[in-house]
Amino acid sequence: MKAGLTFTETLQGHLSFGEHDPQRGALRGTQEGNKIFCHLEVNVGDVERFYLPPQPDNALSGWVYSSALGKRLPVARGNLRFFVKDKSATTGVVTYQLRYCLLLFDELGHPLTVVGVKTIGGSHLGRLWKDATTVRIHLYKGDRFADVAGVSDAHIGHVQGLETLAAGVISVRPLAFLRQLTTLRAADPRSVVRFGGLFMKRLLGAYALGARADRGAR
């Protein structure tokens, strides 16, 4: 029998409409006061296989609030993929990504798709905390869930007809992270330990690999 687990993650940050680059979007969004707040429940289907493709069982639910979008928008469909391997076409650096994908409907019923990416590895261990808590986000027009949910950074540029609405950065604040740990729930307590272990192993592994790549470059 598969052993599942859930936890809640709250992320907040800034985004800006008409912007394609998350860093610039966050900067502009801060100036413009365009906040975004995500309250997500992560449902890991199988703690033994949660990081292995195709990971269809890691569902996301919850809501997203942005001052520019109006009310809290419930997540209509959501999916989180752990440790998706991505190789930069330009630098060749290998990273692992946690990819969030959400389908929302705004107050008026217009659909939009949110893709969020945590990039892990590809640099030194000192960046772990920042990497593991920072999510670059893009908002796309329409219901593109099926088109983007399984796609890595290297390939998302090739998705036909994807129209970017906004970009920005959201992150888990330290306190929110501590609270997040208390939200871990599983039918079998051993699942939590097992999940934590596998997660940390993959996480640190990503940096070990990054460090090796660093040395290789030198």
Binding site: A68, E107, L165
Partner: protein, 564 residues
Amino acid sequence: MNQTHFDTVIVGSGFGGSVMAYRLAEAGREVCLLEKGKAYPPGSFPRSPYNAHDNFWDPKEGRYGLFDLWSFHRIHALVASGLGGGSLVYANVLVRKDEAWFVNENLSQGGYENWPVTRADLEPHYDRVEQVLSPKPYPFEFAPYSGTSKTQAFWTATKRAGLEPFFPGLAVTFANGDAAPVPGEPIHEAEPNLHGRTRLTCRLCGECDVGCNYGSKNTLDYTYLSAAARCGAELRTGCEVKSFAPRDVGGYTVTYVEHPLTAAGPADESAPSTSHTVTADRLVLSAGALGSTYLLLKNRIAFPRLSRRLGTCFSGNGDLLTFVRKRPNAQADPEMPAVIDPTFGPVITSAARVGDALDGDGSSGRGFYLEDAGFPAHLAWALQVMAAPGPLLTLLSQRFLWDWTGKGADPRLPSQLARMLSGNTLAGGVLPLLGMGHDVPDGRLRLRAGRLDVDWNRRASKDYFKRARATSQRVAQELGATFADNPIRYLNRLVTVHPLGGCPMGRNEEEGVVDSYGEVFNYPDLCVVDGAMMPGPVGANPSLTIAALADRCADRLLEKRRRG
């Protein structure tokens, strides 16, 4: 069965929407105009203050009235909702925008406004609009018009203050054709108006700002909209547009709710609002500067390639309302009326222009216009009623009478206003002065928690407001009057009746949301044609310029269709 596909759907029936509706319908296009407010035939504008709150637009509370008050942090804007938009409550003044005020600043180097059109571009359109709205100067040379005390006082005082007063065109019918003006005569119209009712020439009742119950104002419902209806345009009232999106096959889908309005009466509360959808090859947003910008911000998810300039260039057209109070014991002055009665005569009859550094004639600073703003006799009485604690006071103190710092309401304001405006405490009378002009359009409209709000840095326009106040004060002195800065000081900074901008015109999408023909960059056949397209203040009263730009947009749209 109602038709559901049109060549053009127009949202809103103000100056932008009405001109577009007529021009397109006249050229044979199938036009559907959706207006959220009611139609107001003669005699239907309410007057009693006891149910004054029903005269506000607030659908959530079941109110579908004429006045639509938007409360923002530090500024409030008053607009109208009804068939004919702002023309129903406006003061009829039609003035062309000064040639030198079509400002060209470099936006990437700290400039605020850059007009992609010139006065010369608009000249033929001004002419064409004036033919329909027929502005006429106030016939002050004839009795009983010559007895208008506020006009006499304004002329004498502004002249003494070194200004040059003039009679601007008023879109009011004072006379039949070339006959001498006579108040209260039936107007001979070549073709019946859309209300199918007889209009009367102006009766000088001073109620223009709360709707003319005699049909004397040449409002859009009697002019452009009647003509549009004759050409087959479908005018749907009580229809509030909520959302729209591009269609895959080209064109747009528009969703609106139909409010349960009876012909011109109160809402039928038992009936719910119903939702409808129509489609169109082209969509024209003419819901006013606030309405159109709000609609685009709300629907932004469906329009990812909208310019980042959406919401910018907001200004209140430099509105500044001050009150001049004549001292009852002032010395007899042969050139001045003994008593100023601001309730006699149309709300505005005269204007004086104060120069601008851009004029190139040695003037310095930012220019403006001063006008004699009368008010209806019943307003003073209405305010007295409002000053009593009651539901309206609560409504106003919540929605309207914030302290200008935004910290909270000043509950004393209605009673102070009432005292200010009521005749018995003011033997000498009071003359409100409305200033408007070339302020700095640095406001930004945005959504906050889903509601429209404005970020506005008043400091940029500080010198402008200081100068306009100083001039008003000088006029007050010449009147032998006291300058009533208090309590209206709050209002000075508080209320604009000329909100402009939000979807500014530009030469490209870096500069503006729409091009100089109102077409939205990256979205062909989606247009914004109303006060929202102004990249800065008009300076003078804006309606004529909005209408002229609309006429120019219509030309382009029809030309494009012919070629395409």
